[in-house]
Symmetry: C2
Subunit: 334 residues, 2 copies
């Protein structure tokens, strides 16, 4: 199946509204799902509609939540998502975030009380489109053990960063602080495959290469004690600091329903013109020189594969497996 | 040799002023050196005076630089260190950073044009003492290869974070984004010991366990491509964003003198009361619950060893090897 990006977007909106989600929410979500499909991040593409509809049907998410925007200070915008999905809340707060950062150089967007399932790169890329540097982080559900322990405390806790590059794709990364994605371990379990050692421990805290034992035990962070410290920082910055749930809080709040995590998100924007002052242009050149010296030695910048997929998709649309297309059509009421 | 903390401080001030450093600079540096010695971070304790005096004698550092504080915006304070050491510039900007974060919730302290050699934890701990969350990062000299490459681009690029805990030591980490400290590799070389694989590559880009080959090749980041992405973020945030040098720029600026790196530093402060709003107290409780769940499983919080050493030192002073004490006395003119 080949679909244009406009068709992907319409399929997303139709599927979500057919299942009872308010149109403004459906459009915000369909935009990030279209971006995921376009960039060949398949787990964040149309495939994600399946778990999204599942979350809707479980009845926890407020389907017509109206995000409430509060200007806390010249630097802080808070959006209370009202226990709806996060994307509309982000969209409603983004304009103020950008204006604040343009005006005083740094700003925060705090999103509270949202159900969260999307990647963070679409958000930091929108900040970079405004010529600003974006940094975003959020907890998830407590699946990941701290270094030196074996019991779950942290979420997979992603962190995303974008640096604007005029006339080019931004420098962007978006990674989980867990050694692997939880979905990756689930795929191994379904396929009956071993997982690499270092991804997880079993319920007794011992290293395991068994996917089932890993899912019943605890995942590990990337990078040992440093990755573990970062995961804790994300709990604190994207949870406790903004008066919202940590991954453990969110796990309890879920009450076993296995809905996408409910918590908050912290998004920061930085203005290179104000932070760099008279040397801002020189700073931008230093950044480009660094990117050049990475690429000159044959190393890749993060997100390059996504950008290459994006260029293909903008020309030719996206390719979708027949089975997935039929599954989604069945949910869409078409 | 046993010295009280007051004696460590005086020895630091005397040694630095005897070598021509202005008294206000000497006091700022002696404070962080005393903190390092107190916390048994020996490489950042009195030992550091040796390389500090070496840097002074090489004639690059401006010994009586007067930090110039500029209020860029309600959120940004810039201190031009005037090519002096960083510590006095930090001290001069800290008050504004704290006031801005207290007033509008987030603030940045940009330090430009400084020679930098200290750990970052003393800085973020001072932010935490004010009840704020601190985050600091800085480049160094280009010694570290990006993931997928084998040539130096990044510095050892430390990042430090502190979370205030009323009545207790803060949650603090301070780590290099390189797999190991450069000094650690140098110690292995002097001892004729192999380094672990994963720390570095040789000049041809091949993995090496030879310390000499590592120092002539490139160090590696911790955590593979994720650590590499973080190292790049620190170049961008602590260098390009603030209109200052990246690690490669700083390496060139050094012109082979092997003085401590000259560049900038970005320090951020966050106010939990404004970011958490009505739920700030609940956020603080969630943080404590997370710390408890880490410790309950026998894992340690970062910096615990430092805090234990600190309590000993505050009672009993610090223990210093005779040889080191004599080396420093010889530099101090006493």
């Amino acid at each position: 199946m080949r679909l244009s990006l406009a068709e992907v977007f319409r399929l997303g909106v139709d599927t979500l509204t057919h299942n009872g989600l308010a149109r403004d929410h459906a459009e915000s979500i369909a935009r990030v799902i279209t971006a995921g499909q376009r960039d060949e991040c398949h787990s964040h593409g149309l495939y994600r509609l399946i778990s999204c509809v599942d979350a809707i049907r479980k009845g926890k998410v407020v389907l017509d939540a109206v995000p409430e925007v509060e200007e806390v200070s010249p630097a802080i915008t808070r959006v209370d998502a009202g226990f709806g999905f996060s994307q509309l809340a982000f969209d409603r707060g983004l304009g103020r975030l950008i204006e604040n950062a343009q005006s005083i150089g740094i700003a925060a967007l705090v999103v509270n009380n949202c159900y969260h399932f999307s990647a963070l790169w679409p958000e930091v890329e929108r900040i970079a489109e405004a010529g600003l540097v974006g940094l975003a982080m959020t907890p998830s559900h407590s699946w990941v053990a701290p270094a030196g322990g074996g019991k779950p405390v942290f979420g997979t806790n992603p962190m995303a960063f974008a640096w604007p590059r005029p006339g080019q794709h931004p420098y962007v990364f978006d990674f989980a602080t867990s050694a692997a994605a939880r979905g990756e371990i689930e795929l191994h379990r379904r396929a009956g495959k071993k997982i690499p050692l270092g991804w997880a421990v079993d319920a007794s805290g011992a290293p395991t290469d068994d996917a089932e034992a890993a899912l019943n035990g605890a995942m590990l962070t990337f990078g040992g004690h440093k990755g573990s410290a970062l995961a804790a920082m994300i709990e604190l910055m994207g949870g406790a600091l903004i008066g919202d749930m940590t991954s453990a809080d969110s796990q309890r709040f879920d009450e076993g329903a296995q809905v996408t995590p409910c918590h908050g998100e912290l998004i920061l924007a930085f203005n290179p013109h104000l932070l760099g002052g008279a040397k801002a242009a020189q700073g931008a050149q230093s950044a480009e020189a660094m990117f050049d010296s990475i690429r000159a030695q044959g190393a890749r910048l993060p997100s390059q594969r996504r950008f290459e997929a994006r260029e293909r998709a903008q020309q030719d649309g996206v390719e979708l497996p027949e089975g997935l297309y039929r599954d989604i059509l069945a949910l869409s009421g078409r």
